[in-house]
Amino acid sequence: MNRSTHRTWWKTATGLLLTGIMLFPVYWMLNVSFTRDQDMRKSPPDLFPAHGTLAGYRTVLDEQLPYLGTSLVIGLGTVAVTVALSAPAGYALAKLRPRGGGLLSFVLLAAQMIPGIIMAMGFYAIYLQLGLLQSVPGLIVADSTLAVPFAVLIFTAFMSGIPGELLQAAKTDGAGALRTFWSIVLPMSRNAVVTVSLFAFLWSWSDFVFAGTLVNGGPHEPITLGIYHYIGNNNQEWNAIMATAVVASLPAAVILVLAQRYVAAGVTAGAVKD
């Protein structure tokens, strides 16, 4: 495109402005997290933390670390369950083409339409009977339902692109389906594994519905409940609430910086797929 540098300069400025407006709430969360207690109710509020304090973050470290730890365990567990279940399924749907595979894909799409709150109620009824309420494995299983259908569809789409000759060659060399999957398909699908893991982790880290229904009040509560209780018990120390929010957002920030293209790929693949 032939655009003078003058004109693109204005576009960059406009882009910066739009991004600034969009990200203002994020900035505000940061700003409030550094604000002193006595400045919290100031009117108008300070636009930047002139008298910045780390008191909010000290409170986080004192009170929220166990919640963060639980969230980390649950997030990693969800990733493991999701990848272990969906990568083989994606391989089968993409390359082995079983009878009934179309129906399964249909069910997976439909599964994504079910509101989380409904699933939560069903899980609650089941876990109550099984004694799985307030347990970490129970929450991992429930959280994995957020990601598994999406993950199978991502794996299927990705593995469809793996050249068939490669798999044919492996077969000629005497590799069975399992070996082909493990030594060829899985290593080649690294990008899909990364994308799926990112989303599985992020969704379970952010989950509030399952946490609020299945492990509420128990010994292992994730950070979403940590923040929720914090708001409920105390609506004065907003610097500490926002500091917790900042810390809880860190995985998202890290993921965005390190793996932006996987995120974009995941967002679009989730919406527009053949």
Binding site: V26, P115, A120, G164, L256
Partner: protein, 327 residues
Amino acid sequence: MNHTTQLPDRASVHARKGAAATAPPPARARSPRRPTSTQWAAWGFLAPVALYLILFYAYPLYRNLDLSLRHYTVRSFVQGDAPFTGLQNYRTVLDDPTFAPALLHTVVFTAVCLFFQYAIGLALAVFFNQHFRLSATLRALFLVPWLLPLIVSASTWSWMLNSDSGIVNAALNLVGIGPVNWLTSPSWSLTSVIIANIWIGVPFNLVVLHSGLQSIPNSLYEAAALDGANAWQRFWRVTFPLLRPVSAITLLLGLIYTLKVFDIIWIMTKGGPAESSTTFATWSYQLGFGNLLPAFGPGAAVGNLLVVAALVFGLIYMKVQRKQALS
């Protein structure tokens, strides 16, 4: 994964390439029968997910249906001996004075959020589709609101919209508008949660529509420019019509997602004050978990109505996708 390969038009190219090089693509193509051993292997790989779907989707859904057809108390919930009452819970829900407002709020919330998320997302996508310095970086930054845990976004908005100390009222004060009780007044609570939810949904629309824009060939714009079309005409005559398939998918997915929004509303207003921001999703949760004396049966009934609505739109979504995949 290259996200552009996911677009419908590119995807068909991609699939054709695959067809030339290898076996026919799996999607919808009637493949020749595979030998039985391959079938066994395939179902060996699929068995875990199939079992998973039965245990962790079908069974919870069945339990939820069962909940909605019985009369539960806390005691019978534990002992599992609740009497079967047929559609009584659904009748209770339909006769409930909350039903009409919840329906209205769900429709308004969904429609208004969808419209603004799409309109803002599309405008931003068109803007960021231009070439300028930092374009890609800024577009990536737009993803932040979508990636944040909903509890974080909801609590941030709660504080920003706080009546006394919120930045929004402070800004309105500067232009001479008196304090608005965003979250505590029944006339504003729905607007507040809509604003927060639009903010969260814009990035998704931006990213999907942007990748849709990229698949529109540049030559079309050049041709339109040669014909003397101005920027506005190029948008309405070229961009908008060619984007229609992607727009349809984006809007349908947005519809399905918005219909089930729960976290934002619950965290910001709990559906209140006086049920002024109650939707089906929060109402269902309120009935089942929000009170000391849970009404699991009616809660499940409301939830099932929501499932039916989501599945209706879900089926439309699948129909649209299939049509696009074939075309």
